[in-house]
Subunit: 371 residues, 2 copies
């Protein structure tokens, strides 16, 4: 993997030089997911300094080289601070200040004002510029190894969910079901959960980020589960809503069909060249027309990879177009206060029609099952 | 609880006015744990604006008032943004810019450079100052309700650990033991884990932040577990090391006695008026003398409350003295690469000698048990 990381760093270096920055521009990366993308590791508070001459240094707080590194094959130097109170940002700025670097591009959307100030203080002749979301943009389109990791994450997630559906659910609490799902993710080989597992039953069903409570599953409830595995750092999301026990009531069938239709519309809008906002609109206009203008919240979905909810955001305000090999979620839902609701989430990879169209990674059925 | 939060906000307002800031200074709090301390809730990206006239506004990103609020009894106004892309920081700055506020004190150690810039852009005549860690300092000494929550968190943690010790351990993986401990915390009433549960066996024992692996527990291993419950937002930590199966080897007994001695020395150094660094030194000098100068890492322990590892840091560089009613951890350890090691962590509350001395919250035995 270390050659992959080196190639990613070279690409970032070329891009940050190409976009107007003169020779003498170094790059300082501090966002953990960006660090992991560029080096394979992300120790707490670590930063990565890319020097225009091609020397890359990972500065870490804790002593000891991270286990993923240190073989020297990817031309990454690792410098671990020994002084307990030192800040890797400050050390990186000192290193940069010694060379012929004149401009240091930092991630202003991640660095705190205090760290930025400390950095300016130790290297006063460096001009600090904003790297913006250059690394995030580079992370948008995934290579086949990244997509393979996501595919495995989705398989693990489908397995964990499938097993839960075979067990007795009535009488169990949201909290316990969520814990059991997380244990099953690990059983099937996940490193952990991609995000906190959400289980909502009855009036709690259909909520986006419901924190599981001690409410027990009852006959006639809608039950919404949202979970995802993390595998080699890559995260996916699935969400499904079921009816417990009896045949669903009419209102449940109608609401389910509506959300399912919106979810399908968003999935079908996924194509290389499609505008981000068009994917959102495909689902939003269906929910709007049925009297749920605020159901979707901020966005119908977002990119996934080393983070859940990374770029692109599939929202009404988003500007940009999808590329092939961009994995995203679509995750519409409608919640009726006091009654409950429906959410259906999938993770897909954008593919050209000639390659079979969007690749669905989370394949658990979306029929309305009565469990 | 809302009166408690209102009183805390009044105290913060008085302090930020007293420390040289003239009339016309407003305070903008963005750190999640500080928000929770001052309002009882901390929605994602929310900020709290304390206006010098005593009007407090919580600006949240998501629509909908957080369930913990909205009863109007604590004089806190809640403003939820409806535009999906809006930033609560910008809205708070607009609100501040309309009044007679001249100075806005922000948390520079938490606010990103990008948000700080956005804030300056919307309210150009406001002078931005640094609030520093004023709220963190206010959080140091806990009231009896906070200590009661910590006491319950510790009881839950002791129960979860006690049950694990009664079960068969040989042959089970670190990962499964960690998950089982987390499930038991929930069973006993925790909201969740205070921090990711760490289980390390054999050569992984004694490490500070070991991420559980698929290594199985074997006869003769040291087994280190570190866990803690979160209860009403308050977090504690316990860490214990055991020997598996047989009687411990001589090197295991010696290492255990050394770490136990260091841990006891740190506990005994906890007293109102004791310097932070003196607590660290009490443990560090014992480990140094036995040839483990780097074993302790950054600090022997730290404050606990709404966060694990909050102020004060009990480190060689820390400047300051303990007060009564400050809950802290002491958590020394020694790890021998390739062999394993010992960690022993407790959560205690600093109390005067006349009140019985330090109050131990995590009461699980520290004898070297062979399980």
């Amino acid at each position: 993997m270390s050659e992959v990381h080196m190639a990613r760093r070279s690409r970032l270096r070329e891009r940050s030089t190409a976009t107007g920055a003169a020779d003498g521009t170094a790059v300082l990366v501090s966002t953990p997911a960006n660090l992991r993308y560029l080096t394979g590791t992300a120790p707490p508070d670590a930063v990565l300094l890319l020097d225009p001459d091609g020397y890359d240094t990972l500065v870490t707080r804790a002593s000891g080289v991270p286990p993923a590194l240190g073989d020297g094959t990817d031309a990454l130097r690792v410098r671990a601070l020994t002084a307990p109170g030192g800040d890797p940002v400050v050390t990186a700025a000192e290193l940069a200040g010694r060379g012929r670097i004149r401009v240091l591009a930092v991630e202003e959307h991640h660095l705190t004002v205090a760290r930025h100030r400390a950095l300016a203080a130790v290297a006063p002749h460096l001009r600090l510029a904003d790297l913006g979301t250059a690394v995030e943009q580079q992370r948008l389109v995934k290579d086949e190894d990244e997509i393979a990791a996501l595919r495995i994450a989705a398989e693990i997630t489908d397995q964990a969910l499938g097993e839960l559906l075979e067990s007795i659910l009535v009488g169990r609490t949201e909290r316990h079901l969520a814990l059991e799902l997380e244990r099953r993710l690990i059983d099937h080989g996940a490193e952990g959960s991609a995000f906190p597992t959400s289980v909502g039953t009855g009036r709690n069903s259909g909520l986006a980020d419901h924190v599981p409570t001690d409410r027990r599953v009852e006959e006639g409830d809608f039950l919404t589960v949202r979970l995802g595995a993390r595998y080699r750092g890559y995260r996916c999301r699935i969400g499904r809503t079921f009816v417990i026990g009896t045949a669903p009531a009419d209102w449940q069938i109608q609401l389910y069909d509506l959300v399912f239709g919106a979810e399908r519309a968003a999935r079908e809008a996924l194509a290389p060249g499609a505008q981000y906002r068009a994917v959102d609109r495909a689902a939003r206009q269906l929910l709007d027309a049925e009297g749920y203008p605020d159901a979707l919240g901020r966005a119908v979905g977002a990119g996934v990879g080393l983070e859940i909810g990374e770029d692109p955001l599939l929202s009404p305000e988003a500007v940009g177009k999808l590329d092939a090999c961009v994995p995203v979620t679509v995750e519409p839902g409608v919640h009726l206060p006091g009654r409950g609701g429906v959410r259906i989430d999938d993770t897909l990879v954008v593919r050209a029609q000639s390659d079979g169209g969007p690749e669905l990674l989370t394949i658990t059925t979306k029929e309305l099952l009565a469990l």
